[in-house]
Symmetry: C2
Subunit: 283 residues, 2 copies
């Protein structure tokens, strides 16, 4: 039985419940983070916690614990679940009101929930074969830099991508790829690796940021500019990054092979560099 954390208590995940008046449930008034766990340790934790603080700050939710206390609770959760490889999911919402009103009362207290998911990602078929992505119109709101739980557009895109035989959706706006539904999108050109610059149009990916720094350290240029679907189709390689996939090669976009249709050398090398970085810096 998986153990969850809810507002200071550890309890069976199956018993972790929130009020129907919780604003996370009624208004998607909440923020989440997903961090990877390898060898029982948290990966790139400081980066995820810093983004959590940025997102909650952007919508005026005050975290009920310090970042150090949150990390300590995450570690305890990982230990209690005996998790060696998988994810820690964290969600903080503005909390439950006594009624439903768009304006919360000033004394509302946030809800903090965390649970783990045992999910191998180091040695899975998607790494060896690569994944297919399908492009979808980007229907999301204008503040994608805020990692809110308002994920219906992403869930719809993932559903449509799965129906098209793909494992991820790449969101397209004005002809340019913004990002994956739950990942950062990269292509490899002769000049280096290309990914969308940070703005309110995309989430600042933690894994992508670390991987970009590793690329630059190893002499691969990181070019932050929007790219089109046509450029992606003509690219040498394409790949995604996220906490739950780390780095995976994209070998087909909308059914068309990228490069020779197998995981390419740049993404494969960057994945190895990232896993090495992850293990070195795990906490």
């Amino acid at each position: 039985m998986s153990v969850a954390y809810l507002n200071g208590r550890f309890l069976p995940l199956a018993e972790a419940q929130v009020s129907v008046l919780d604003r996370g449930f009624l208004f998607a008034d909440g923020i989440y983070e997903v961090a990877a766990v390898i060898d029982g340790k948290l990966i790139d934790s400081a980066s995820h916690l810093a983004r959590l603080e940025r997102s909650t700050g952007a919508i005026g939710i005050v975290l009920p614990l310090s970042l150090a206390e949150i990390e300590a609770a995450q570690k305890q959760l990982v230990a209690r679940n005996g998790l060696t490889e998988g994810l820690v999911y964290l969600q903080v919402t503005r909390g439950a009101d006594a009624t439903r009103d768009f304006l919360p009362p000033p004394d509302i207290r946030p809800t903090l929930v965390m649970f783990t998911q045992a999910r191998p990602f180091l040695d899975v078929p998607a790494v060896h074969r690569g994944i297919a992505v399908a492009t979808m119109p980007d229907l999301r709101w204008a503040r994608r830099d805020i990692k809110s739980v308002g994920l219906l557009a992403q869930a719809m895109a993932k559903r449509a991508a799965a129906d098209a035989g793909a494992q991820e959706a790449w969101m397209v706006e004005d002809g340019h790829v913004t990002e994956g539904a739950s990942s950062t999108a990269f292509i490899v050109t002769e000049d280096g690796i290309v990914t969308r610059p940070y703005s309110q149009a995309v989430l600042a990916g933690c894994t992508g940021a670390a991987l970009g720094a590793l690329a630059e350290e190893s002499g691969i240029a990181v070019i932050r500019r929007p790219f089109t679907v046509e450029e992606a189709l003509a690219a040498r390689e394409a790949f995604i990054t996220s906490a739950s996939t780390l780095c995976q090669s994209v070998v087909r976009i909308d059914g068309q092979p990228i490069g020779d249709g197998t995981p390419g050398p740049v993404a494969t090398r960057l994945r190895a560099l990232y896993i090495d970085f992850a293990r070195r810096t795990a906490v």
Copy 2:
């Protein structure tokens, strides 16, 4: 103690809880409706239930009850709470999974929750004085015709409007008013009443649709076209419609008075027509 309905059971609202794995909580993967209650009866119920079915259909949630069964449960909830004037809130989500994944399992069962809010709206100061609105950039997603619980952008706009001393936010996109954060926006010109046409850019307001029909019956033209903030500022009158306000005059926009700065005759007349219609057709 207020009574709620949750998945077939009536229970105290304070005890109504959902799993933290409910997709309404994790992904805003849910739909809601708010219907007014006057004299202990549901207002414009068929229209709200038809929209519920459209919204859930658009995202592939199968309602766990027929619309007639939902209405019967709403009536029972109104009776159990002794509600004479207020709102019935209804939310259906895709349900709780055993884990968190963007793709739900095929056998997931929806969550249906309803509760009431005693809230007078027939004889309140806002009716006599009118309300102030503040314009805000429309940051929402592209499928506003789906009444999803992904309401963070609306909550942020309402917060900013309240901070500016206004009771509602009017969302502006490309210089044109789309709608209120939780209402339909109208202006009154010499040609009739003007409101945005139906599209994916706005929610099809139930109260606004009924009020538009009443306006036409009484010889007031309804012109469905986008209007600008400048047009609104120069309008004879402005007003909003929603289940929770019915019809309220907007007497200030961004601090500038509309008309003579008091509720105008057209909105006042339409409000009276709507209340008469509501009482005649209540169930």
